[in-house]
Symmetry: C2
Subunit: 215 residues, 2 copies
C-alpha cells in the first residue's frame, strides 16, 4: 500500500458527496453488521467456509477499481473536511462505529452505540477503544475551537467499567498555550455518568500548517 501523507483537494459537489456517503456509507454499514455476525455466529464450519469464499469474491469485485492507498483526507470549499476512511468517524470505514460528532456552543458531543466488535473484558468496552473514541472527540474539540492539531499527549483516567451499548462523549478546549490546545473530555453512560476522563494536548505540526494553508 502506498502511503499518501498529505491533504488532497476535494472538488466534488455537495450533491455528489451526499450520494457517495449514502451508497458507500450504506455498504460500510452492511459490513459493520457482517463484522458483528462473524464474531457471534455459531454456524457450522461448512457454512463459515462458504461465507468466506463469497466475502473474498465480493472484496475482489470492489478491488477491480480502487485507490492505490488509504482514503486520506480531502479538503473542500470553506475548509470542509472529508475523512471518510477515518478509524472513528469514517462513513466508509467499517472499523469506525462511526461516530457523528456535533458542535454545540464551543463544545463537541456525540451519542453512539458500541457493540460486540468493541469488547475488551467480558461485556465491557475495550479500554483502548475508549481511548480511540476520546482521542477523536478531543481532536475535534480542538478543531471546533479554532486550534486543529495532532495528538501530542493523551491522558486517560478510567473511573469505572464502560458497558457495551449506548454511550455518549463530549469535549471542550480547556486552554490554549501558544501552538498547544489543551482539551478535556469524557466518555459517559446515557445518563451522563463519566466512565473515562481524558485530557489531551493537540499541536498542529509545521508540515500540516503549510498544507492546510495551501488548500
Amino acid at each position: 500500500m502506498t502511503a499518501t501523507t498529505g491533504f488532497a483537494r476535494d472538488d466534488q459537489s455537495e450533491e455528489e458527496l451526499r450520494r457517495e456517503a449514502e451508497v458507500a456509507g450504506g455498504l460500510a454499514g452492511a459490513v459493520r453488521g457482517l463484522v458483528d455476525a462473524v464474531i457471534r455466529t455459531e454456524a457450522d464450519e461448512a457454512e463459515l467456509d462458504d461465507v468466506r469464499r463469497q466475502v473474498d469474491a465480493l472484496a475482489e469485485r470492489l478491488r477491480a477499481r480502487q485507490l492505490p492507498g488509504p482514503y486520506g483526507v480531502r479538503i473542500g470549499d470553506g475548509g470542509r473536511i472529508r475523512n471518510w476512511g477515518n478509524a472513528v468517524v469514517g462513513v466508509r470505514n467499517a472499523v469506525a462505529p462511526p461516530l457523528v460528532i456535533e458542535r454545540v456552543e464551543g463544545r463537541v458531543r456525540s451519542e453512539f452505540a458500541l457493540g460486540a466488535a468493541y469488547e475488551g473484558p467480558p461485556g465491557l468496552v475495550h479500554g483502548g477503544v475508549c481511548a480511540l473514541v476520546l482521542d477523536q472527540i478531543l481532536g475535534e474539540a480542538a478543531t471546533a475551537g479554532g486550534h486543529p492539531g495532532m495528538t501530542g499527549t493523551l491522558t486517560l483516567r478510567y473511573r469505572r467499567p464502560t458497558a457495551l451499548g449506548e454511550l455518549c462523549a463530549e469535549a471542550e478546549i480547556d486552554r490554549v498555550e501558544g501552538v498547544k490546545a489543551i482539551v478535556r473530555g469524557r466518555l459517559m453512560t446515557p445518563d451522563r455518568e463519566p466512565t473515562v476522563e481524558a485530557e489531551g494536548i493537540f499541536i498542529l505540526p509545521r508540515w500540516a500548517r503549510g498544507q492546510l494553508a495551501a488548500t
Copy 2:
C-alpha cells in the same frame, strides 16, 4: 444486545479450538479484506448497491444461529484465555488487526501491519488507534508479569507521526505498588524508532479477582 459481564468457563479441546480459530478466524480475515476494499473502492453505485445486498444476505445467514450477546472471555485449563472477540487481538473480530502478542523474557512484543482501516491524518495511523494497540500491549505485559488487571490510567506521548504499514510494539512492567502494576511500552517503526510512548497503571477489580479465582 445482552451484556454478559463475567468470564465463562471454556471446555473445548485444543483440537476443537485450533479448528475454530482456523475456520472462524479465516472468515474474519476475509472480512478484514472486505473492510479495506470498501474504504478504497472506486466501483460505481450499482456495483456498491449490489455488493451491499449480498453482504446483508451473508450476515443474515450467519445470524441464523448466534450468541445472544458479545463473545465474552472464556477461561480454560491452566488459565488459558480465549478472547476471540477482543477489539485488538480477537481472531474472530475484523475490527482487530489482529495483533499476535508474544512473551519474551518478562516483556511482551508484537509485529503487525496497520492498513487503510486504521487511518487518522492522511497516510498516518489514527492517534487513537496507537492508544488502542498500546492499551492492549500494556495490559498483556501486566498479565505476563503476573499482575493481570484493567486499565486504571493510560498516558500516551506522541513523539512523531506513525505511518500506516509495518509496525512493532513492546511493553514491560516497570514496577508494582500494591494492587497496581505500572507498565511502560512503546509503538515503533520496523527499525525500532519509537513513535508513541505509553505508561499505564493496571488494577484487577475485586469482581474480576473473585471470578478468575472461581474458574
